[in-house]
Symmetry: C2
Amino acid sequence: MAMVSIKDVAAHAGVSPGTVSNVLNRPGKVAPATRERVEAAINELGFVRHGSASTLRAGHSRTIGLSVIDIGNPFFTEVAAGVEDVASELGYAVILGNSAGSLDKEERNLRVLAEHRVRGVLITPSGEDPARLDRLREHGISVVLVDHPAHRPDQCAVAVDDVAGGRAAVAHLLAKGARSIAYVTGPLTIRQCVERREGAKAAMRAVGLDPADLRVAETATMTARAGEKAAADLIAGGLPEAVFCANDLLALGVLRALLRAGVRVPEDVVLMGYDDIDFAAASTVSLSSMRQPTYQLGRIATELLLDECDNPETHAHQHIMFQPELVPRETTQ
Amino acid sequence: MAMVSIKDVAAHAGVSPGTVSNVLNRPGKVAPATRERVEAAINELGFVRHGSASTLRAGHSRTIGLSVIDIGNPFFTEVAAGVEDVASELGYAVILGNSAGSLDKEERNLRVLAEHRVRGVLITPSGEDPARLDRLREHGISVVLVDHPAHRPDQCAVAVDDVAGGRAAVAHLLAKGARSIAYVTGPLTIRQCVERREGAKAAMRAVGLDPADLRVAETATMTARAGEKAAADLIAGGLPEAVFCANDLLALGVLRALLRAGVRVPEDVVLMGYDDIDFAAASTVSLSSMRQPTYQLGRIATELLLDECDNPETHAHQHIMFQPELVPRETTQ
DNA sequence: CCCCTTTAGTAGAACGTTTTACTTCCGGCC
DNA sequence: GGCCGGAAGTAAAACGTTCTACTAAAGGGG
C-alpha cells in the first residue's frame, strides 16, 4: 500500500516533480546525469505511474476498447489476437468487451469504455444503430468498424464481403447438384447473417431457382449447441439436400447432429460453414468453409485506429473490403 | 468534443457538484425532486462520468485485470467468459492481457494493469515467479490465481488437480493396453505441463513401468500446428502405442498429422488430450480428454477476487482445488 | 419555546499527474 | 562587457471527481 507518487520520487532524487514527469515522458529534455538520478529513484522506490491521474490531466489515455459479439467464437479470438499484437507494439492497452449478441450488454460495455476515456474503439456492432457510435465520436473517441462496412464516410472500416461470401458458398453447394437448400443462421439482427443470406439467394437466382425457397432456420446464438438444435429441426421437417451455415460453430453443431442421426455427409446432405476456423479442418468429416483474413482484420483495424488517434491531421479514413475465399473440404465432396 | 463535466450538470440543475456526485454514487442521500432534476440534466447534456478523475480521487477503480497464457485457446476463452459474466454483473470492467506464454509480455501487461490501478488481478501465471505478483500486492492490488495453486496462504487460488489429471489420463491409456507412451507438451516452464507429466509418470510407476521411458516431446506453443509438427517427429522417431497431449489443441494437431500419415487411431495409436474443449467431441475421430470446470473456474475466481476487493474485512482467503474428469471417446476405444 | 437530531445540501480541499510560464545559468558573439 | 539565446530545471495551476466538514432548515420532545 506504499503508493509512492511522483513527488516522492522527486524528493528522493532532489528534483522537482516536473522534472520527473519529463524523465517519464520526454527523456531527451533532461540532462543525462539528472535523468539517471531520477531513474535510480524510480527503481529504488518502486514507483508506478498513476495512469488515471495522467489520463485526467492529459485528457486522453493510451487505451483502446474492443467490442466483439462473441469472444467464444474463434473468429473473434483471432481478430482479438491481431488487435492485441498491434496495440501492445504501440504501447496501448486493450479493454475487451463481449456483447454476447445483446444490444444491452454492448451498450453497457460502450459506456464503460466512454467512462474510461479510451482513445478509440474497435467494434463489430451487434445491431444496426449508428447513433450509439456517433455518440462516442461526439465524446472525442474514434471508432473503427471491424467486420462491418462503414456507416459514414468520415470513419474507418474493415470488412469482408459477406454477400459475395454467401453467394460463393451456395454456388458451390449448387454446383454439387443440390437443389433444396437450408440456411442455418444466427439472429437476423446481425448484419453478417443477413448479407450471407442475400448472397445465398443471389446464387439461387443465378441458376434459376426461386430465392423464396431458401429454408431459413434462425437460432438465438451462433454456437455449436444451437447448430445441433437447428439440425434436429431440419431432420424433423424433412432434410434438404444442402445446408449452409452462417458460421463454422453452427456448422460443426449441425454436422455432429446429422451424423448422430445417421445422415451421411456429404452423400445425403452437403454442408458448408463460414469463417474457416482452425477446427473446421479437423472435424469428423472435414468442413468446407469460407475463409476470411481474420487476424489481418484485427491488425489493420487497429493500425487504422491508432493512426487516427496519433496522427489526426494526416490521417485518411479508409474503407477496406476483403474478399472471402472458398475452402472446399469433405463435407462438399 | 463537448466534454461536459459534473460542474456543467450542477449548473444546469441548479445544485452543487457535490450533489451531482451524490446522485451518481448514493442516490438515496438525495431528495427525490432534486435527484430527478439532476438526472434530467445528465441526460440532456449527455454527461458521461470521467472514470479517471473518479479513480484518482477515490483511490481505486471498478476495473479488474485478467491475464491469461493464450486467449486463442478455448480453455481460456471459457474461463474469460466466466470472468466477464461475474464482473459485469457486479459492475466491473475487465482489462484483458494475453501473455502468449512470454514472461516479458506478461510483465508488460501487469505493468499496464498496475498503472491503471485496477482493483485486482486474475492471473494464470506463465512462469513460477511469485515475486512479481507480490509486487502487485504491495501496490494494494489483490491477486487471485486461476488454474494455479496458491503461492502463499494469504491469497485466493482456484485450480484443478493436474497431477491427478495426468495420472488418470495415462492410466486410461495403459488400461487400453498401451505400454510405450509419448507425452506431447508445451513449454516445461508452464506448471500445468510439468504436473501433468508427473501424473503421467506416476501412472506408469503404478503399473510397474519405468517413468524414465516416458517419451517427452516439448513444443514452443500449445497449438494445433505445434501438435502436427510434434506428430511428424514422433512418426520419424518410431511410433509409440499411445500419445498423451498436454492439451486438446496439441492433440487435435497430432490427430490430424497421424491420420494424414495413414496411422490409424485408435487401432495403431491411442490418443488423449486435455481440457475437453468443445471441438474435442467434433473431431475426425472424437478425442478422449480430461474435462475441467472451465467456466466455473473463471466465475469462482472472479467472485473470490471481488469479495476480497469489496469486503476486505470479512473476506476469507480460499484455496479451491477441483478434480478433472475423464471423458473417453473414440481415440481410446 | 428551546434544544437536539435528522435531512438536504454546499464549499472547498484533495487525489497525482502534466503543462505553461517563468527563472537561472552559461557560453558565445559583436 | 553587455546582450542574446538556449539548456535545464522549477513553481504552480489545472484536469474532474469525491469526500469531509460544515451550514441551514425542518421536525420532535420535553
